[in-house]
């Protein structure tokens, strides 16, 4: 250092800071471009589905949203049955997957011995990496025959209960909304579970220890300390799973029965937005194709509305907590 003449130093610093500033500006621009690219892709996809489906969305208007008809021969399309199937199967999946993932995540963070945590956590992450077509094949060849064997029993037990009984009365064919919901539950469980496990681990030990010291049971610690502390992340994880359930295609197509029905029974076959598109797009021309693209746009809208509800819920929770 000492060999460098002192007089050159200010010039060097000046030049360096100028290049640094230029690089910073360039870097900022690059980052901004990356972020904008995501927005542009999203907007492009939404607009192109809107454009592709314009014939049905604007030509048939409300009829498309309110009708449960789906007749390619007369070109009469309504999106109600696919929307119904999408929402019902996703709801069943959530009802089953959320408590189960909650239990698994709690067990892994609070109760399980240390040597068991690693292998089980890895197994769950592996479950998340199985392609959906494999779930579909498992559903069709293993789970559907199993369901068709237990569905008569469902008819005779749950099907007898007044009011909810209607949900469980139907032909014992193994395919249908319930089966699709259960397969979806297995598929989204690892996503919800790994998020929950990660955030449960961030709860400070000292909070939990204090609660235990005050005489709380494990359940009380979980319900009053862990869950409130991690609430927003847990809800985020649940909606991540829901997002996947709404858009899942192949596995659902295999086990849903693919029939344009709106029924009161969960054992009846139905259809979903994504499986309708996957099924019919190949051979669809003209209005039929437009109707399927419009369905794609509706899936966008449904997912968007669901995410919006999640955001509103989180905001209300935050306000109630006073943050």
């Amino acid at each position: 250092m000492s060999s460098i003449p002192a007089t050159t130093e200010p010039v060097d610093v000046d030049r360096r800071s100028r290049t640094d500033a230029r690089h910073d500006a360039l870097f900022r621009l690059l980052l901004k471009a990356c972020a904008l690219l995501v927005l542009a892709a999203l907007l492009g996809a939404a607009l192109s589905t809107l454009w592709g489906g314009r014939e049905v969305l604007f030509g048939h208007g409300l009829h498309f949203l309110a009708s449960d008809a789906w007749n390619p021969v007369t070109d009469d399309y309504g999106a109600l049955a696919p929307i119904f199937g999408t929402l019902v199967t996703s709801l069943i999946a959530l009802v089953l997957a959320v408590p189960t993932s909650f239990g698994i995540a709690l067990f892994l963070t609070e109760i399980a011995p240390a040597w068991l945590r690693g292998p089980v956590a890895t197994a769950i992450e592996l479950l998340a990496s199985i392609p959906s077509i494999i779930y579909g094949m498992w559903g069709l060849f293993v789970f559907v025959p199993f369901m068709s064997r237990i569905e008569p029993a469902l008819n005779d037990t749950l099907g007898r209960i007044p009011l909810v009984g209607k949900l469980f009365q139907g032909p014992p064919i193994g395919l249908g909304l319930l089966t699709a919901g259960i397969v979806l539950a297995v598929m989204i469980l690892p996503f919800i579970c790994s998020v929950m496990r990660e955030v449960f681990r961030t709860v400070p030990t000292r909070l939990k220890e204090s609660s235990y010291a005050l005489g709380s049971t494990t359940w009380e610690v979980v319900w009053d300390i862990v869950l409130p502390y991690t609430r927003s992340a847990v809800i985020g994880g649940i909606f991540l799973g829901l997002g996947r359930a709404l858009g899942e295609t192949m596995a659902v197509t295999f086990v849903l029965g693919n029939s344009y029905n709106i029924t009161s029974s969960l054992l009846m076959p139905g259809t979903s937005i994504s499986s309708s598109i996957a099924n019919e797009f190949n051979e669809a021309v003209g209005t039929h194709r437009s109707a399927l693209i419009a369905l794609g746009f509706l899936l966008f809208v449904v997912t968007f509305v669901v995410l919006l509800i999640a955001r509103l819920m989180l905001r209300r929770l935050a306000r109630r907590e006073g943050n």
């Binding site: 025959p145 197509t253 190949n282």
Partner: protein
């Protein structure tokens, strides 16, 4: 200086490699023409097999993409492929508007397939009216008098029929629904025909394999699949009473009988479905797909190869078609197609 000496041989190598690649590319294109086709998935297996055999013989490759009939029609209209293949014939107006012609390529049969405990394949007999009533949801039990009347001596269970259909748009569904429209006025007015229809009842399986899987798994189910799938999956298939009132078995001879007795001579541009064919031995749900090509070739060399390919397939591809459980066109029909080529196409 030293730098340029070091890179010179490398550049030389690169150039010679490039030259070799260019020579190879030109060399192969000089003696072989690659043509492309797209469309119906129904003919995909047999065209692939023909393509391999044809390439061995002539060195010309036929690249066929199974993107669905709708896609095939769109591609040939756009002129991006040398031929399209569709399970549905194009109508007169469309052909004239785009300057296209069409001709059948191969025959396939569609069979009602069932899974009923104690009823062996080929033991069940159905007719068009009964099949239509089952798919309309009017006949719901296997021991319905309408089915029992066709099957004296067969013990059918008092069980509900689970109707299985295709969930995807397909030529199989098009031909099946066309057959039901021909034999049942009620089906024609309520449902009609199309690659996908508004099914009054039943569950949908994706593809022939999906329908086959459902039929195998669901007891007391009834569906329709391509003949090859029923054979390969060992599913029970039914016999049909045809338009002539005779009970026929699905097999090569009865499919060919349908193709031979269908009234091709009066069908302009081969615009005719073979369902409910009049012949005494004709299988009632026989289908074909159509090759669609420009009458005024967009690319003369490729079009020439395409015609040569189909000529070769009619003459030498019969064994290959049979090995995949397709049925080659009967000679009388091939004769008509070759006449059609001469009169309609500029070669």
């Amino acid at each position: 200086m030293s730098k340029s000496i070091r890179t010179a041989p490398r550049r030389g190598l690169g150039l010679s490699l490039l030259a070799a690649v260019v020579a190879l590319a030109f060399g192969s294109s000089a003696c072989a023409t690659d043509i492309t086709g797209a469309g119906s998935s129904f003919v995909y297996p047999v065209i692939s097999k023909w393509s391999a055999g044809y390439a061995e013989k002539t060195g010309n490759h036929v690249n066929y993409q199974s993107i669905g009939s709708g896609g095939g029609i769109a591609q040939i209209k756009a002129g991006t492929v040398d031929f399209g293949a569709s399970d549905m014939p194009l109508d007169e107006a469309t052909l004239a508007k785009f300057g296209l012609g069409q001709f059948p390529d191969v025959i396939g049969g569609i069979v009602p397939a069932f899974n009923v405990q104690g009823v062996a394949p080929g033991k069940l007999v159905l007719d068009g009216a009964t099949l239509a009533d089952i798919y309309l949801g009017k006949i719901v039990h296997w021991n319905d008098p309408a089915i029992a009347r066709l099957n004296p001596g067969l013990k059918l269970p008092d069980a509900k029929i689970t109707v299985v259909h295709r969930s995807d748009g397909s030529g199989t569904t098009f031909n099946f629904s066309d057959y039901l429209s021909k034999v049942s006025a009620e089906w024609k007015s309520k449902v009609g025909e199309g690659t996908a229809v508004n099914w009054p009842t039943g569950i949908g399986g994706k593809g022939n394999e999906g329908v086959s899987a459902y039929i195998k798994q669901i007891p007391n189910s009834l569906g329709y699949v391509e003949y090859a799938y029923a054979l390969q999956n060992h599913i029970g298939y039914a016999l049909m009473k045809n338009a002539a009132g005779k009970v026929v078995k699905p097999m090569t001879a009865s499919f060919q009988a349908a193709a031979a007795t269908a009234d091709w001579a009066h069908a302009k541009n081969f615009n005719l479905l073979m369902t409910n064919a009049p012949g005494a031995d004709a299988w009632p749900i026989t289908a074909t797909s159509w090759v669609i090509m420009y009458k005024q070739p967009k690319n003369e060399a490729n079009t020439k190869v395409a015609f040569d390919f189909f000529k070769w397939a009619y003459e030498h591809g019969q064994e290959q078609a049979r090995s995949l459980d397709y049925v080659p066109l009967p000679d009388s029909l091939v004769q008509q197609i070759e006449n059609y080529w001469k009169t309609e196409y500029k070669q």
